[in-house]
């Protein structure tokens, strides 16, 4: 039976790694890219990344056919496999991020702080890009699946991850830091940054699609599933209109960017749009099966109740770990009130 091998858990995994990448990039933006407006939410973003980073292997392990053998990744290192890289990158990232949060929250006044922070951020930038982009590399380098095989996919994965991560940080900052005096200019900058990345990521998804279509690896039969088939609602409706055009128009105005309700709606829509992009890429890509040369079949797929519950559960766990992070690490942003 030909069926979907990588299901909603892999979609969630890809989504969470994107969130980690995006929130981490926001956290190091003041140090590395001199975006001083975001300084106030730097450590807060790191904790957001930390919470989701800790939860990121769970969907991956749940998707395995033999989850109890997951430690085999460490027992039998295979450098030729990109997937084997995950275990190592994850551990390095957890250690680096934990160290960075401790330095940022406890040793901010130390003489060596600035130099240490810049150094760790530079290493962290590289690791986070590998962490957030390597799944896109796996998908893009899959020559057996023409719908996936694209060199632009890793870039789109990174851009969508940064967009979603920035939206998540903004959303959580509005909810968590509102009473602690979240500065309007920080929210405004975050909104602008998310807007730019959203626009770039959407353009790249269109380039990705048009290049594969132009190169005739994506025939009309396969394109039609996205445009008029049963993925159309998710592709055009959620990915481009609800999660793309509407938030772009909303965030383009400063009034929405600095308002609580307006920006919350825009950021939730962006998160839904990016999740939809991952769904269309991963599950949609597997629904199109090549039966014979130039002959394709479309597989039906509906997530099971367990998969939906697991998705909600893992996202809730990520949020719980984020709250735990806020509790155990002394966040400078909270100092005034707590």
């Amino acid at each position: 039976m030909t069926n979907i091998i990588w299901g909603p858990m892999i979609v969630l995994y890809s989504f969470i790694t994107g969130l980690v990448l995006g929130s981490y990039i926001i956290s190091i933006a003041p140090t590395l890219f001199k975006m001083r407006n975001l300084e106030g939410i730097s450590t807060f973003s790191m904790v957001t990344a930390w919470g989701f980073l800790l939860a990121s292997p769970i969907p991956l392990v749940l998707e395995l056919g033999s989850p109890l053998r997951a430690p085999n990744i460490y027992l039998y290192p295979t450098p030729s496999s990109v997937m084997a890289l995950f275990g190592y990158i994850w551990i390095i990232f957890v250690l680096l991020l934990t160290t960075q949060i401790i330095i940022h929250s406890r040793y901010r006044d130390a003489a060596w702080f600035q130099r240490a922070s810049t150094g760790i951020s530079a290493i962290g930038l590289v690791i986070s890009l590998i962490f957030g982009g390597y799944f896109g590399f796996i998908i893009g380098s899959m020559k057996a699946r023409e719908v996936w095989s694209s060199t632009i996919t890793p870039i789109t994965t990174i851009l969508s991850g940064i967009t979603a991560g920035a939206a998540l940080v903004a959303l959580l900052a509005i909810i968590t830091l509102r009473k602690d005096g979240l500065r309007k200019d920080a929210l405004n900058s975050l909104g602008k940054l998310t807007l730019y990345f959203l626009a770039i990521y959407l353009v790249f998804t269109l380039i990705e699609l048009s290049t594969t279509a132009y190169a005739e690896t994506l025939t009309w039969t396969r394109l039609s599933i996205l445009l008029i088939g049963y993925l159309a609602l998710s592709f055009i409706g959620v990915q481009y209109i609800l999660g793309g055009l509407i938030p772009i128009f909303m965030l383009a105005t400063e009034k929405v960017r600095t308002s609580t309700i307006g920006s919350i709606v825009a950021f939730i829509l962006i998160l839904a749009g990016v999740y939809s992009y991952k769904w269309n890429l991963i599950i949609g890509g597997q629904q199109i099966v090549e039966v014979s040369p130039q002959l394709y079949s479309l597989l039906n797929f509906m997530p099971t109740q367990t998969e939906i519950l697991a998705t909600v559960g893992i996202l809730s766990l990520s949020l719980f770990l984020y709250v735990l992070g806020l509790t155990i690490f002394p966040i400078p942003e909270f100092k005034s009130k707590r």
């Binding site: 056919g65 039998y76 295979t78 002959l295 394709y296």
Partner: protein
């Protein structure tokens, strides 16, 4: 020895149950003659019986390709299986090194090590692998390795009533496969992948020749018609 016992002893040799010509360093290949395949599905059924693959999952399967419109119609049976490629896509991607290529050319899976991540299934351009729901690991044809080690040919080969599947050692110059590959025009499925399959087809080009309305009956997917 009674005639019956003698027949019982000789029968496996008569019907080609044993591998007769084997070199010191064998490399196993299969030749599938599509002109001989009658579409009896004996290979598909015998493989399931031999290897106990779960319901709806196949290590080998027969696709039915119909081209054209009545009365100008052609129907071809295309037996499919793992191609045991020279440079397989599935081997380097395995994150735990559970799938590997043996010296005799057979691509195998270490079922005790496989974590069931599905990466090899995605990477295979021939859709030859599946995730076994009972074992939780990747699964695929291994040319009935347990039989080869006993000197026997794979189950699908011995049960092929049309003699369409021929198995043997390509390194032995006198083996049937060596002679067939030397004499006949053969092709492989998806040569553009660069995987260099070890399963060769006679009459494949005719079977998949484009330009006519086509219907494919695939036991793994169902009936698929060209739109």
């Amino acid at each position: 020895m009674s005639k019956y016992l003698k027949l019982q002893e000789e029968l496996p040799h008569i019907v080609g149950r044993y591998i007769d010509k084997k070199s010191a360093k064998p490399k196993w290949v299969m030749v599938v003659d599509l002109n001989r395949c009658v579409g009896c599905y004996a290979c598909q059924v015998s493989c399931k019986m031999e290897n106990g693959t779960p319901y709806e999952f196949f290590r080998t399967w027969v696709e039915v390709i119909e081209r054209g419109k009545y009365p100008y119609l052609r129907r071809v049976f295309l037996p499919r299986l793992c191609n045991h490629c020279e440079t397989p896509s599935c081997v380097p991607v395995c994150p735990v090194g559970a799938t590997y290529k043996r010296d005799d050319g057979i691509v195998v899976i270490d079922y005790d090590r496989c974590i069931g991540c599905g990466y090899c299934i995605q990477a295979c351009p021939y859709d030859a692998r599946f995730r076994n729901p009972y074992t939780g690991t990747a699964d695929k044809c291994d040319y009935c390795l347990h039989k080869i080690e006993e000197g026997e040919v794979p189950s699908c080969v011995i049960n092929c009533m049309g003699g369409a599947r021929i198995f043997g050692d390509i390194n032995h110059p006198e083996s049937i496969v060596s002679k067939m590959l030397a004499e006949k025009s053969v092709s492989v499925i998806k040569p553009e992948t660069g995987n260099s399959p070890s399963v060769y087809y006679i009459g494949y080009e005719e079977a998949v020749k484009a330009g006519a309305p086509v219907t494919v009956i695939n036991p793994k997917i169902g009936v698929v018609k060209e739109i």
